[in-house]
């Protein structure tokens, strides 16, 4: 059985947030929901300030607090390491969100739009057509309503239903078909890597072996599947600049 993991190379990340955009389009997430969020931090006193960036997808923890607290088993961990949400079972208690130390869960506070971006983007525009290779919309979004994995649960994509929790899925719909998650695929500087860590010869395993890695909030004991390379864990002297739009 494969065991998926993501590596975030902070030496390369430019904070461009292309991953955030790719995620939103692929997963059709609602406004002000960021399954992949990139922190843009400022540290130090002017003029001695330093910028740093930290992409924050769901950490797909092996010891996931959200899975433990879910009262109905809507949040579950697959054998391949993916932590997913079943929107048909979720009762919307939001306990997972509060158990998670990373703040990666997003609740559908209102009835989601079927297609979040089709009204904003004119998919027939020739420029977009040329960029998407004639596919419009460019991804299969929002038609991800299939049952995925051996559990046969409808876990992919966002904007399922009012009053249920959703979060980063490592793009289960793409991974199951042998593709990379949208954020990894889009990153222009290959700051994000994704692969099977149960296979010691896979590129991602080799990369982890060759570099010093750390996890976000290691002290929380969540055993994340997301590895960070370079940079250092964010401290509370960091100030977040350029926050995305905060409220719905």
């Amino acid at each position: 059985m494969a065991k998926y993991a993501m590596v975030v190379d902070l030496n390369r990340c430019q904070g461009c947030r292309a991953c955030t955009e790719a995620c939103k389009i692929e997963n059709n997430t609602g406004q002000s929901m960021f399954w992949m969020h990139v922190f843009r931090f400022e540290d130090g006193e002017f003029p001695d300030t330093r910028m740093s960036f930290l992409p924050r997808p769901c950490q797909h923890c092996d010891n996931a607090p959200c899975v433990k607290v879910c009262p109905t088993g809507a949040r579950f961990k697959r054998e391949d390491g993916l932590v997913l949400t079943d929107p048909d079972r979720c009762i919307g208690c939001r306990y997972c969100e509060l158990a998670c130390p990373y703040g990666v869960n997003y609740f559908n506070w209102q009835t989601p739009e079927a297609s979040q971006y089709s009204d904003v983007i004119d998919w027939d525009d020739p420029d977009i057509q040329s960029a998407t290779g004639g596919l419009s919309p460019p991804y299969r979004n929002p038609d991800l309503d299939e049952e995925w994995g051996s559990e046969r649960r409808r876990t992919a994509g966002g904007n399922h239903d009012k009053g249920v929790m959703e979060k980063c899925t490592f793009c289960v719909q793409r991974v199951e078909q042998g593709n990379l998650p949208a954020c990894v695929d889009t990153c222009p500087v290959t700051a994000l890597r994704f692969g099977d860590v149960s296979d010691a010869e896979s590129p991602v395993s080799q990369f982890i072996r060759e570099n010093e890695t750390w996890h976000l909030l290691e002290e929380a004991g969540t055993e994340p599947s997301v590895f960070y390379v370079g940079g250092k864990p964010p401290s509370h002297s960091y100030k977040e600049v350029e926050r995305p739009k905060a409220r719905v």
């Binding site: 899975v67 433990k68 579950f76 961990k77 994995g149 559990e151």
Partner: protein
């Protein structure tokens, strides 16, 4: 008779609770794909067990002395 039924309900309730609990809690299931109860509505069985055990008190007090025929 009264005592037997009451005791039976208490024991039965506890048994239901145990079955419901064990079926609802597949220990260590957090790491595998599916952590569902071993059968549907197992938690309801647990709750039913709690209710049956406490309802024994009702039976003990309300049961008529001689069943009317």
């Amino acid at each position: 008779m009264r005592k037997t039924i009451t005791l039976g309900m208490v024991v039965g309730g506890i048994v239901l609770m145990l079955i419901g609990y064990l079926a609802a809690a597949p220990w260590g299931a957090d790491t595998v794909a599916n952590s569902d109860p071993s059968f549907g509505f197992a938690p309801a069985l647990f709750v039913l067990g709690v209710i049956v055990a406490f309802s024994a008190a009702l039976v003990y007090e309300l049961m008529p002395d001689r069943p009317e025929r």
